[in-house]
Amino acid sequence: MSALLAIENLSLEFRTRSGIVRALENVSLQLPEGGSLGLVGESGSGKSVLSFAVLGIQDAAATVTGGTIRFADKDLLADAGSAMKNMRGRELAMIFQNPRVALNPIRQVGQQIEDVLRRHTALRGAAARARAIECLADVRIPDPERRYTAYPFELSGGMCQRVMIAIALACKPRLLIADEPTTGLDVTTQAAIMRLIRDLGHEKGMATLLITHDLGLARDFCDRLAVMHAGHIVESGATETLFRAPAHPYTAQLVRATPVGQDKLENLASIPGNLPDLRRSDLPPCRFSERCELRGDACATALPSVDVSTGHLVACHHPQLRTRP
């Protein structure tokens, strides 16, 4: 099976005044056509940086220092020129958190959809407008003709997120990157937005990369998960496997920190420590080792990649191979 998106050993650095931040190191992940992958991890673990690098919209201070990103058998990093520009927004699209500020505040939402259509399709004038209204209807926005002329400040957060999805899906992309799409929304709206993304993904055979710190959300939504910690992917595998038998101590702690069903607050474990400072020159090979209760001498040596089972990879010297009761 050839993956739609295949990232191999990607490393990325930020050059800042206070030193080099090694934001991503040897990151590899794969996403098949039509699949859904959850990229989970705490804030600052590099999830968004990774997704921006895929789209080629990373900060000017960021440099890719190694690895490849392949999308539909095209090398995105080598094609950083016009090929990438034409794919961005058409074959790969992205939606963001806080939809109310992620839309142009002084442009009608319909026109913002049309901007994308005009950029990537031959549609113009009335045809573009009709298609934009169709896009609004696609994301289940009631009365799309009237909403076409609305400005973001006239819409609720949930509506704005629907508009953003409409913009992202206007050109029927093959991959949708959803970066914390429900952050800043009401709980009830969150569920509706996630259902919408899933349904549209199924309808259009679109692959989804969901970036979230909410493990529960990722569990409901994704076939597979990749767990990020401090710029490393520490574990990846099928969602249920990771939940039932997390092999990496970090994943295990994340799972214990995630409420399931009627869990009480006191039953949830918190993860001690913080992400290490990625500017340090003495970062250990395993960036989790300083927070890890299983740390041993081996942890100071190069990080292994252990095949726990088919499609279940873990980067740890002490993988927990027992099943969680």
Binding site: M87, G89, A102, I106, V116, R119, H120
Partner: protein, 337 residues
């Protein structure tokens, strides 16, 4: 939109009343006795008294005020005792000269400052950013009369490229028939291109002088505002949608960055109108500022009152224009609060 304009105009009425009262009181509070001034050094006490009676200065303040307001309303803004002309006539002939100069200066400043600010914002730390900062610092720190004199010295006296800094038009040319009072426009209407070129030549140096001065706040504000907008979330969305960099820069970023720039523009405009007195002096420009200063020195009430009042009217109009322009740029401003 029309009701908004009407509301704003109505809202300006209290301002105008305030301005009328304040100018009236202020001119009365000025030191110097106009009656004595006009009677001259050789004037006898009776002559001074007679002039005072003629000017209505012997009446009580409230009475003087009522007379003043009644005259204003009937279009009689008094006489300039220095020139013997009705104040209204003086103002209507001199205001276009000042406005033409101010608008030309602003126009030049805008077409230089805004691209400069945008370029500086898109390339922070580059040579163009440093250039922007350098020009801005120089523009603010050099007083207008100094740059004016310097420019006249270099381009008229040393190089001889510019015409003598003596007013709006070469003395050998006659002013175009008055339509708008702006020589550039009137000469075009009259299809008199010789006068157009002549007027343009006279305008260049004072325009550059004024533009240099207002360049700084405009360029800095454009840069700061663009920098803020370019790091906004919706710009990232636009880039993620693959929109062309020019679309992102102009249709998305610049329009959003425009509001603070417009506010600054309004501020420097009103600031310029009153304060280009010095530039008018340097270039012998027959504008409203030099007129007001001369009147003030001569304790000539009526022109000073007329000047302040017409400035107040202009400010009100200016603010109204800017408010309306806000509404065009930002839909959030259209909602009547």
């Amino acid at each position: 939109m029309l009701t908004t304009i009407l509301k704003r105009l109505l809202g300006a009425i209290p301002n105008l009343i305030g301005v009328i009262v304040v100018t009236f009181l202020l001119t009365r509070a000025l030191p110097g006795d106009p009656a004595a001034f006009f009677a001259g050094a050789s004037g006898t006490a009776e002559a001074v008294e007679e002039i005072r009676k003629k000017l209505g200065l012997d009446k009580s303040l409230p009475e003087q005020f009522i007379v003043y307001v009644r005259d204003l309303a009937s279009g009689d803004w008094g006489f300039s005792h220095a020139t013997g002309q009705p104040v209204l006539t003086e103002l209507t002939t001199r205001l276009p000269a000042s406005l033409e100069l101010t608008l030309a200066g602003l126009f030049l400043a805008v077409i230089v400052a805004i691209p400069l600010g945008i370029l500086a914002a898109t390339r922070p730390g580059s040579w163009i950013d440093h250039l922007c900062r350098g020009i801005a610092t120089a523009g603010v720190s050099l007083p207008t009369f100094f740059t004016g004199l310097l420019l006249a010295y270099i381009f008229y006296f040393l190089l001889g490229w510019a015409p003598p800094p003596l007013g709006r038009l070469d003395p050998y040319l006659s002013a175009p028939p008055t339509v708008t009072g702006f020589y550039l426009i009137d000469s075009l209407i009259a299809r008199d291109f010789e006068v157009f070129i002549g007027a343009l030549k006279q305008l260049i140096l004072p325009t550059i002088t004024l533009a240099l001065f207002v360049l700084a706040p405009l360029a800095r504000m454009t840069r700061a505002s663009m920098l803020g907008v370019l790091s906004a979330d919706f710009i990232r969305t636009a880039r993620a949608s693959g929109l062309a960099p020019t679309t992102v820069l102009f249709a998305y970023a610049f329009r959003n960055a425009l509001l603070p720039v417009m506010t600054t523009l309004g501020m420097v405009f009103s600031f310029l109108l009153g304060s280009n007195v010095l530039v008018e002096k340097v270039f012998a420009w027959p504008g409203i500022g030099s007129f007001a200063i001369e009147a003030l020195v001569a304790s000539d009430y009526a022109p000073v009152q007329g000047f302040v009042l017409s400035m107040a009217l202009l400010y009100v109009l200016l603010n109204l224009t800017i408010d309306i322009a806000y509404g065009f740029v930002d839909p959030r401003m259209r909602v009547d609060g």
